[in-house]
């Protein structure tokens, strides 16, 4: 009896599957006009970010190339945070800690490579390194480990608790960096010579921008692919309705934890790039103010959108540069803009430019 019903059903499945593709096509064409506008905005954004610095470089304006690198790196850090906040619904108020840790990996590694002293000599010797590849790998791994520990505790809680706990853990690391004297304490740590890459001159501003740009595009591509996969489907469900996810047989906790770890690793890699860009790391990279600014960037751009962090970073750094050039109190105006966006324009700049995001 049982078998009868299911075989009669599966016999028509081929038909249904073909019907599905037509439904999908109909849906796609319905979304087509929407796609055009959205695609155009996104392509313009990415294209300008790539082309303007190249032009600036050949016109001799190195300042603007470095500004573009700054935008790119901050956007990448925000891409990481967006995975947690936007896609996973985990409002982490402590992502600066991964940014800062990534930065300190670059700084400390360069410090020991420059000094020719080992980072540690017991139980085994770990030398410093001025290779970016090594720095990146270590930064990603350490940030993942730290996020695993912080996430494992924080994700046992939800809502306001989660926000406050991620903030508190970040403060813990911040105060630690401030009071640990070996690497400069609150004065920070300079990187005298930028870390190096094989086959590329990382000290060249344009080359370094292109490295950062590649990093950003990769981070966005990974996020996009991830969110379309089974893991992404589960994460989306964990954000929208975690009871439904559990009832469907999937425990939300490990899904959230893994995405939190990936999110931290992306932000940490951005931190390593940032330290090498500025030739300097300090506890400011770990501060809760920066955690807040990263959130602001994600929200300004449009939370849970692939290009949101980029749009937000462009807007943020432009405001900082333009308004900051006019008044030293520019953050007052940032506050007003942010208040306006939160109260009245919930979908961010991209929501306004490119239309509402669809969940499918």
């Amino acid at each position: 009896m049982t078998n009868n019903t299911s075989t009669s059903n599966s016999s028509s499945l081929a038909n249904r599957a073909s019907q599905r593709t037509t439904t999908d096509a109909a849906l796609a064409s319905k979304a087509n006009s929407h796609f055009d506008r959205k695609g155009l905005v996104q392509l313009t954004l990415l294209g300008l970010l790539l082309l303007l610095p190249v032009a600036a470089y050949f016109l001799g304006h190195i300042y603007y190339v470095n500004l573009a690198s700054r935008i790119t790196i901050i956007a990448m850090a925000a891409v990481g945070l967006n995975l947690a906040i936007g896609y996973g619904g985990m409002v982490s108020f402590g992502h600066a800690v991964y940014f800062g840790l990534g930065g300190y990996v670059a700084g400390i590694s360069a410090f020991h490579a420059f000094d020719l002293t080992p980072f540690m000599s017991w139980p085994f010797t770990v030398p410093g390194s001025d290779s970016m590849l090594v720095v990146w790998l270590v930064a990603v791994l350490l940030c993942a480990l730290l996020a695993l520990a912080i996430g494992a505790i924080s994700l046992r809680t939800t809502g306001v608790y989660f926000i406050m706990i991620t903030l508190a853990f970040a403060q813990m690391i911040y105060y630690f960096a401030n009071s640990w004297p070996t690497y400069g304490g609150q004065d920070g740590l300079p990187i005298y010579i930028r870390n190096t890459l094989p086959l590329a001159d990382s000290s060249n501003a344009l080359t370094y921008f292109l490295i950062c740009f590649t990093g950003l595009v990769l981070a966005m591509a990974i996020t996009s692919r991830l969110m379309k996969s089974r893991f992404g489907a589960a994460l989306t469900m964990a954000r929208l309705n975690d009871v439904r996810l559990a009832t469907a047989g999937i425990n939300p906790y490990p899904i959230r934890l893994v995405s939190f770890v990936i999110s931290a690793a992306i932000t940490g890699l951005a931190g390593a790039l940032y330290a090498d860009l500025n030739g300097f790391v300090s506890p400011a990279m770990l501060s809760w103010h920066f955690s807040g600014e990263l959130m602001v960037i994600v929200i300004l751009g449009g939370v849970g959108r692939l290009y949101g962090p980029l749009a937000g970073a462009v807007l943020f750094v432009m405001m900082e540069t333009l308004l900051g050039g006019i008044t030293e109190y520019w953050q007052l105006f940032l506050g007003l803009v942010l208040l306006g966006v939160v109260l009245f324009a919930k979908h961010g700049v991209l929501g306004w430019l490119a239309g509402r995001e669809r969940n499918e």
Partner: protein
Amino acid sequence: MSVTLLIEQLLNGVQLGTMLFLMASGLTLVFGVMGLINLAHGSFYMVGAYATATVTASTGSFLLGLGAGIAAAALVGALVELLVIRRLYHRPHLDQVLATFALILIFSEGTRWIFGSSPLWLSPPSWLTGFVTLPGDTRYPIYRLVLIGMGIAISIALYLLISRTRLGMRIRAGESDREMIGALGVNISKLYTLVFALGAGLAGLAGALVGALQSVQVGMGEPVLILAFVVIVIGGIGSIKGALLGALLVGIVDTLGRVYLPIFFQAFMPPSEATGVGSALAAMLIYILMAVILAFKPKGLFSAHD
């Protein structure tokens, strides 16, 4: 000698704890009654300190200044509630965090614009300077003792307010059931403004009192705010009792850790290194405490919302 140090540091810990309680009680009330996470609470602390410093400087009376500080913070709190906060009650926590983060930026930069970047000068009145000798030959500043006394007095007043008065009854009703209190015919938006202003006033008082001990400057509220967060997370968000216990715990652990951890490490390390390791660890101590408590009780010691 060592007993004297212990007594002195314990008192310092209690003093920090009582001031943290003034901050944390407002935060936890606002969360318990309105379900709102307010980052801008540290700004009220700053407003209280600035108003007190300004009025004290122009009138020469610390008490007048203190009154002005509380009033200014409560007034600013009420205004902020009317203009911004009430639009946020039904919003997700992310929106609340961002909007109140925006308020911090506005308050901090606005204050810097008006008063400049250099700290203002505020000191305890002359009749509160000096020391008392406690049992065990401990000399302890009178002003700090007064802070402890005020903290205890306000804790009791707050307890009486919440457990014995009509206003307190409404606050408790609002905590347990937001719909019901509306149905009872209580003017809920008035209640919310009042609770918010009360919390802001307490924060302003804390800022003024501590401002006379440390310095009055932009951003002074932020470290305290984060400590207050730790306090209410430990105590259980929404619980006044939890806030009191958490505040004392954090105050004492933090103070003692900063003094004793470096001493402890000196037992088996060269002094300079011991100071570094000890103070770095001391800075992390309360967060480790928080993590341990949360590992066993994810909703804090006294959760009002279970």
